[in-house]
Symmetry: C2
Subunit: 285 residues, 2 copies
């Protein structure tokens, strides 16, 4: 069996034209290459080179061999990358979250159940979650709608309501409930990674000015020391994790309430059985 080392050297010589140049590229000495190429010819029992006293070039067969060698080398590299990718796919679970609160709740559960696996989380609007699951980009997803594709398996795993958080001086803070239209035009402090909620805001309060904060720490910092209203959610209110000195008013629009669904490929539901067994309607609350 011809070793790939020799083919690599042949291909490099073909590319660079001289043994010296090839040797430099390959980080080996030039005499070593001389020997290797001779060995290759010996093993094949075929003349691959035309030897001048001071010059080496490939025969027609040599050229053909070098080109074929390149193909083989590419496939050999594929071998490594594909095997690594396959192994990785066996040991990692990629999860798509449509909002931050589901991630907050599910992450510890998943880490616990699938300890030893690498968990890779992704948060964004969930328009393409169905496709991503079908394509194997995600193994699990939390959506804010119940998927209808019959190749997908899903279970309701909680819900969330949006609230507005006002500082005490704000006149809106005294309403028992509010609607998004009441907020349109306000300047509102907002965290950037909020999944599908972002779409909803853009749509329902097009005239509001959102002060986007990428980092949670700076978001809290600014919220604590300013009068800007912010969004909060039933999740935090249920846990009394609200900002001190702020008043939370429920948003009554239907768009400000959502159910959440845990989704996987129907063909893989066995694999994620434990997780589905633990999860119920009140998991995210």
């Amino acid at each position: 069996m011809i070793e790939l080392r020799l083919l690599k050297q042949l291909a490099t010589f073909y590319e660079y034209g001289t043994l010296s140049a090839a040797a430099e590229v390959l980080l080996i000495s030039q005499p070593t290459l001389t020997r290797s190429m001779k060995q290759l010819e010996d093993e094949l029992g075929i003349k691959l080179f035309i030897r001048g006293k001071n010059h080496l070039s490939l025969t027609a067969t040599g050229v053909r061999a070098a080109e074929y060698a390149n193909q083989l080398l590419n496939l050999a590299e594929d071998f490594e990358t594909k095997i690594k990718a396959y192994d990785r796919s066996l040991h990692t679970i990629s999860i798509g979250y449509c909002a931050p609160v589901p991630q907050l709740v599910m992450m510890p559960l998943i880490n616990n159940i699938f300890s030893g696996m690498t968990i890779s989380s992704d948060m964004k609007s969930d328009e393409k979650f169905e496709d991503n699951l079908l394509q194997g980009i995600y193994q699990l997803a939390i959506t804010h709608y119940e998927p209808e594709n019959e190749k997908l398996f899903s279970k309701k795993c909680g819900s969330e309501s949006l609230y507005m958080s006002f500082s005490q001086g704000n006149p809106l803070a005294f309403y028992p409930q509010l609607y998004l239209k009441d907020l349109d035009g306000l300047s509102i402090l907002l965290l950037s990674q909020i999944g599908f909620w972002a779409d909803m805001h853009r749509e329902k309060t097009p005239n509001s000015k959102y002060l986007l904060q990428i980092e949670e720490s700076s978001f809290i910092e600014i919220a604590a020391h300013s009068e800007y209203p912010t969004f909060t959610s039933s999740y935090f209110i249920n846990r009394n994790e609200t900002m001190p000195g702020r008043i939370n008013v429920k948003l009554a629009d239907p768009e400000c309430y959502t159910d959440y669904y845990l989704v996987c490929l129907d063909s893989e539901k066995k694999k994620y059985e434990k997780l589905f067994n633990i999860v119920n309607e009140n998991t995210i609350k």
Copy 2:
């Protein structure tokens, strides 16, 4: 770059199930295999094996790797065979002859002009010579008809007439010429490798009994010591290489006369230019 040696060993282990068995097949010691497989895992940085104290088996990734390795190994073997076949094709000329006399004449010419090349001759009925030239099975052919395919290049290179050779006592020996129908029913001594002539005989003298001789020496032996008529040809008569004590009578049927054509691919006529230049209408005569 992963060396094929390791992949070969992996594939063998996959096939035979234990290191010991694989080692035996590979003609190496079993501890060597242990190390190789460990090395393979190291180089990939991936677990391929599940190790019990007394048992070794492949992980899912390991199985995948072994299967992929098999593909690579097959391609590597292809490399060798294809390169060798290509090299051979550069150094050999395969020639199809439709009859023995053209071979007698052309062989020395071709050997002379293409010295250093391996010449491979083949004689049979020329029905498929056009296809075989187009497919690269032959580089040259001698046909007994002028090919019409425009991808082929041809030149008339001679002709041949058949004669019957009778022993002196035979009454047919005194005719100035004969027709095949006059021979139908006779027992005739015949060499087996006579190309397209065989078809003609079968067709025109269906009732003759042919005493087929495979070896030329036994053909001559029997011809010399028996009364059986044989075929001979203008080629031998022109050279006075006829059998002693025999009388040769020309066969007057049109089927017993043929022209010969030297043929090659039109795209390769340059390559065989010298030969075509030497050859003319009287080369085979």
